[in-house]
């Protein structure tokens, strides 16, 4: 199967068959990843550049390892956020990378739409590793893969996403992907962090944590960024944890077998209590492993799509 677009910009417009296919391929890649010798030839001769305009450890490392395990040449171009405004334009950076023979650019950018803009002006593939508050498609895919691994089926699954929905590209990608594959998505948080008209995406909106988690199969807590408090969207992390944090008392109200997820990095004691984070129903480490598998699958599918075009 080939993807219909040369770029992976988000899950909003990705057909559900493609999403399912990537998740299935990720399962195969995970088997390879679990081998002792992690060097496969799938991407031999391919050149991948990661272009990060925002700090990130895990996503960047995850992409880099995914590319290297499959034998690609992976290079990093770190760009400080300040040079978004000054310095070389993204248009020119794209042209430079193209002139250097880059097949795939993995981009993280603080501005929504930057990957789309790059993709429109770059003949290779562009993979969105997070753009502003817009989308983070590989995070959505790895979360869905992790859910599917445990529950076998996404259709009918009750997923509750908690926290700063407004600023979260992770939430948006999960909402698009999960609703497309038939899961029931509830989002929960305070109204200062709820984006306008979000219910039109097909989710249920709640301000009540216990109500929103009691029937959930999956509870996903989002990271609260430190600057939100300064921005006046919430008074304190303490109050956040009191009303929206996941601790043992909340787990007691959940169904048996509930799975706790978090895209990381976790603020211990804010989104999740330390006890919950370290409990066996938290799958945060599995999410990290699955992230590498999903990115291996996606890179492979993308380069193959490209080869078949030629």
């Amino acid at each position: 199967m080939l993807l219909q677009s040369k770029d992976v910009l988000g899950l909003q417009y990705m057909p559900s068959e493609e999403i399912s296919y990537i998740i299935e391929s990720a399962a195969t890649m995970k088997e390879l990843l679990m081998q002792s010798a992690k060097k496969m030839p799938h991407l031999q001769g391919k050149s991948i550049v990661s272009l990060f305009y925002e700090n990130s450890t895990r996503t960047r490392m995850s992409f880099e390892l995914a590319g290297k395990y499959l034998g690609a040449t992976v290079s990093n171009l770190g760009v400080s956020t300040s040079s978004v405004q000054k310095g070389e334009t993204l248009l020119d950076t794209g042209k430079t990378l193209e002139a250097m023979g880059t097949d795939i650019v993995i981009i993280r950018h603080p501005l929504a739409g930057a990957p789309k803009f790059l993709g429109d002006n770059f003949s290779g593939s562009v993979l969105n590793a997070g753009d502003g508050m817009h989308e983070h498609p590989t995070q959505g895919l790895l979360d869905m893969f992790t859910m599917k691994e445990k529950f076998g089926e996404l259709k009918g699954l009750n997923v509750t996403i908690i926290g700063d929905i407004m600023h979260s590209r992770v939430a948006r990608s999960n909402i698009w992907g999960l609703t497309k594959l038939g899961a029931n998505v509830t989002i929960c948080g305070m109204d200062t962090m709820m984006p306008c008209a979000i219910e039109r995406t097909g989710v249920t909106v709640s301000n009540n944590l216990i109500e929103s988690v009691k029937d959930a199969d999956v509870v996903m807590a989002l990271r609260i960024q430190k600057e939100r408090q300064k921005g006046g969207l919430l008074p304190s992390n303490r109050e956040y944890h009191t009303f929206f944090g996941i601790n043992d008392d909340v787990i007691d109200k959940c169904k048996k077998g509930v799975m706790i997820m978090h895209p990381g990095p976790v603020n211990r004691g804010v989104e999740l209590s330390s006890a919950v984070m370290d409990a066996d129903f938290s799958v945060i480490d599995t999410q990290v492993t699955n992230g590498v598998a999903v990115r291996m699958a996606l890179l492979y599918i993308l380069t193959r799509s490209k080869n078949n075009e030629a």
């Binding site: 978004v84 248009l91 501005l111 929504a112 739409g113 930057a114 508050m133 984006p195 306008c196 995406t201």
Partner: protein, 419 residues
């Protein structure tokens, strides 16, 4: 030289003569209107065409002095006459800011050879900073028709009140860009479902409406004249409608993009759809149309805001705001608003003239021969190549439009003719 417009259909809601009559122009003025006006050296065959009093744009940016890479007075007015405008009001956000008589004089000087009349709108505050009043008296003597801090809303209510009062001293008014910057925050597009889905910070409609409400109260309480620029929301129009019903001395304009496009056009992150106020939602588009048709909104103004390609071929958040509007305004109105020529004449000519107190907007004996002739039924596809303004930034490129300006006459001189 005598010029005759022959066989056209005259639309003239502010005058007494209309219908299929000829017009004779001598020495820049209309010398006869009727069935048999005699011969002329030059005859425009206007059979099948509609003859309007010259269009007046209450709101444009000509960028000179200081940003001639975006537009200059000559290139801008050439685009204006192509759009049918015989006169344009240019905003003061030039570099340096048009906040002194010296800069107004420079603009007047550069405009002397321009094909359209240029009416400067001086800054209301020094440097558009909202702090100190400008020398509005001197600038009025040099021809400023109004004062505005366009694009830089006057944040202090006290300052706005003083600016309105001071302008009134010289028989002028403030044209207000209504926006509460604290409510706007970091917003770059309309706040709504689209901004949520695109993950771009939204601009609440309350940012515009709260400021409209404040300024309407100032106008109403102190009996001051106020002109509200580019109204874009249903709620804003409702506030103005209510104020007008109470007799408040308020007029307002909206721009073609507010009745021709909505925020779903931002979905591809195309920076040509970035404008301030932002493209709103379908309900607002409907309200702008209704407001224009029922007279709540007095005029269509372009807010022609030309930008260089490099300022638009960039990430949406970093792109400049604005749409190059002279060359599409009339077509967008015919295509998306109405083909009632009398209504169009009111919105493009009669009301703008009344607002800035110019003796135009009418076709009558002895008046300045500022005339716009159009083919109301001609259809075409709008292309980037056809744009003569330096600013090619339009979200309407590729659209099929109806209604084309064929001739523009300023002071009796044929300054534009479509080929």
């Amino acid at each position: 030289m005598k010029l005759k417009i022959s066989g056209g259909d005259i639309v003239n809601p502010a005058g007494e003569q209309f219908g299929k009559l000829d017009i004779l122009i001598e020495d820049g003025k209309i010398s006869a209107i009727g069935k048999d006006v005699g011969d002329a050296e030059r005859v425009i065959d206007a059979a099948g065409l509609t003859v309007f009093p010259g269009f007046i744009d209450l709101h444009c940016h000509l960028r000179e002095p200081g940003q001639e890479y975006k537009e200059d007075i000559m290139s801008g007015t050439k685009a204006a006459v192509k759009g049918g405008y015989t006169a344009v009001c240019c905003m003061p956000n030039t570099k340096p800011v048009m906040d002194t008589a010296a800069v107004v004089a420079l603009v007047n000087d550069r405009a002397r050879r321009a094909p359209a009349k240029v009416y400067p709108v001086g800054a209301a505050s020094v440097g558009l900073s909202g702090k100190e009043l400008t020398e509005m008296g001197e600038m009025s003597s040099l021809g400023c028709v109004a004062f505005s801090d366009d694009g830089h809303p006057i944040e202090s209510g006290a300052m706005m009140r003083r600016a309105m009062m001071y302008a009134q001293t010289y028989g002028k008014m403030i044209m207000a860009h209504e926006e509460d910057l604290s409510i706007k925050g970091e917003g770059i597009m309309n706040e709504g479902y689209q901004s949520t889905v695109l993950g771009m910070p939204g601009i609440s409609r309350v940012a515009e409406e709260a400021m409209i409400a404040r300024d309407l109260l100032l106008a109403q309480t102190y009996g001051l004249k106020l002109h509200i620029q580019h109204v874009s929301t249903a709620g804003g129009i409702e506030l103005i409608r209510a104020a007008k019903a109470k007799g408040t001395r308020v007029t307002c304009e909206s721009a073609p993009h507010y009745f021709s496009a909505d925020d779903s056009m931002c979905a591809g992150f195309d920076a040509n759809t970035k404008v301030n106020p932002p493209l709103r939602e379908k309900g607002d588009v409907k309200a702008v149309k209704a407001g224009l048709l029922d007279g709540t909104i007095d005029a269509i103004a372009t807010d022609h805001a030309p930008h260089h390609k490099d300022e638009k071929k960039i990430e949406f958040a970093l792109a400049a705001s604005g749409i190059s509007g002279f060359e599409t305004a009339f077509s967008l109105a015919v295509t998306n608003l109405t083909d009632d020529a009398d209504k169009l004449a009111e919105l493009f000519s009669v009301n703008p003239a009344r607002i800035i107190e110019k003796k135009s907007g009418v076709i009558e004996n002895g008046s300045f021969a500022d005339i716009t002739i159009a083919d109301m039924s001609k259809q075409y596809t709008f292309t980037e190549q056809s744009i003569i303004s330096k600013g090619k930034n339009s979200p309407f490129i590729g659209q099929k439009l109806k209604g084309v300006v064929t001739h523009t006459i300023v002071d009796g001189e044929l300054v534009y003719e479509a080929n």
